[in-house]
Amino acid sequence: MTRVVEVPVQFDDRAFDQFARSYSAGDGARVLFDAHAAQWASPYGLVGLLTAGQALAEQGAERPLLTLPQDRDVVHYWARAGFVRQADAYFELHGKAPKLTPRGESDVLLELTPVRGADDVHEVVNHIQERAAAILTHELKLEAAATMGFGMALSEACQNIVEHAGTGGWVAVQTYTWRKRLGRRVVVIAISDAGVGFRRSLEATQAKRFGDRWGDAAALEAALIQGVSRFRDPGRGQGLAGIRRYLNRWQGKLSVRSGAARMTMIPPWDDDVPLADQLPFFPGTQVLMIVPAHSE
């Protein structure tokens, strides 16, 4: 038996819960991720899809199938974003995967990159910093100070995987224009892992304090609002707070989904909800950071 998990036609953060619902309704059967009709996927969608494959592999499940998008442009983008190359390790791919030559200029600031250790974080920051600086200052018209904070936020979010997930994860960075949603250019950072999530990471030190309230939402509150870390070192727990400050300063958006909850720091231009609980379960943690162009 094969169970089909539909990949949303427009696969971004807003369609993610639909994907997670379909994914989490598992019954042990082999999974077919069906993306043949996909028309667009954000970096958040792509790292999430890889995470689903990674989680199944780490559970010892049979290697899932993945039908690639039929649309030539779409599958080219998936390949250009590094998805096809990474997906080959976790999925049995069906459909025509294009062979790509490297492109100098691209909207993909950082193609889908594995994060497993501190060296990967160095590599990611080193790779992206100069191009990010050019895009943040010239395309998004942000002050030079935005560039350093961008690298810091990226570094801290990636380290969250290394230090808390208990397994590897993925990061992707892209710039594009949100015509309908915002009418401005944005840089999007998407990070996902298939690890233990915030609840399990913080359970030993925080569950008692929260009592009956303890769960995915409470764990996110402890980490994002209270700056709590599983480490006793008082210097820990500053990374997420720093990311919040950075995004708040540049009117950016931060969304962290872990287990069955999602907490969002909402900028003035967005209509998301601050906390969503009782969502369909999805493994690990997914982080979305959006930095918009300066508003005239």
């Binding site: 920051v125 080193n126 910093q129 350093m148 810091m152 801290e156 210097g235 707070a241 720093g242």
Partner: protein, 176 residues
């Protein structure tokens, strides 16, 4: 006096490829190297040079600046040079969290107090930074504070090793 170049340390201890102070293990390795380079005498100044560091994250700021000051800041004098606003964005929250303070000096020689400090003490530091060494009475007069309040402010600065006191003269920590 010891001049400690962070880029040199980064290249010797972690990697000659990367120029950014990111990740906690990197911060720990760099701090350990700094500790080995601290002057033998507590009274000697340790100058930490950030001028060739492109990027520093919060984890490195906590390990390199936060933990260094937590361990040695009540006994030793530190001065940060080459600190740009991006570095400050990482350092300030760390200092606030640990209730620490340190002096940063720019290329023109101007001093800036980073971190947590009571208001009167911060004002007293500004007087010393702008005007040079001063007696308690001078500081009190410039800030229109009572002698007791001025003394209290200067003692806070002295205890935190951002100001030295010698023969009744208070002087902000700075490079020669």
């Amino acid at each position: 006096m010891a001049w400690i170049d962070l880029k040199d340390i980064l290249q010797h201890t972690v990697s000659s490829v990367y120029g950014d102070l990111v990740t906690r293990p990197t911060g720990q390795a760099v701090r350990t190297s700094i500790e080995a380079l601290l002057p033998a005498a507590d009274e000697d100044l340790a100058i930490i040079d950030f001028s060739t560091v492109r990027l520093m994250d919060f984890s490195c700021a906590d390990e390199i600046v936060g933990k260094l000051l937590l361990r040695y800041g009540r006994a030793r004098y530190f001065l940060l040079v080459g600190v740009h606003p991006g570095h400050e964005d990482a350092i300030e929250p760390v200092l606030e969290r640990h209730r620490l303070a340190v002096v940063a000096q720019d290329r023109s020689g101007s001093l800036k107090l980073l971190g947590a400090m009571p208001e009167h003490a911060r004002q007293a530091f500004t007087v010393l930074a702008d005007s040079g060494p001063a007696l308690l009475a001078d500081v009190a007069a410039k800030l229109a504070l009572s002698p007791d309040t001025a003394r209290e402010a200067l003692e806070v600065l002295r205890e935190r090793h951002v100001v030295r006191e010698s023969g009744g003269h208070y002087q902000a920590v700075r490079s020669a």
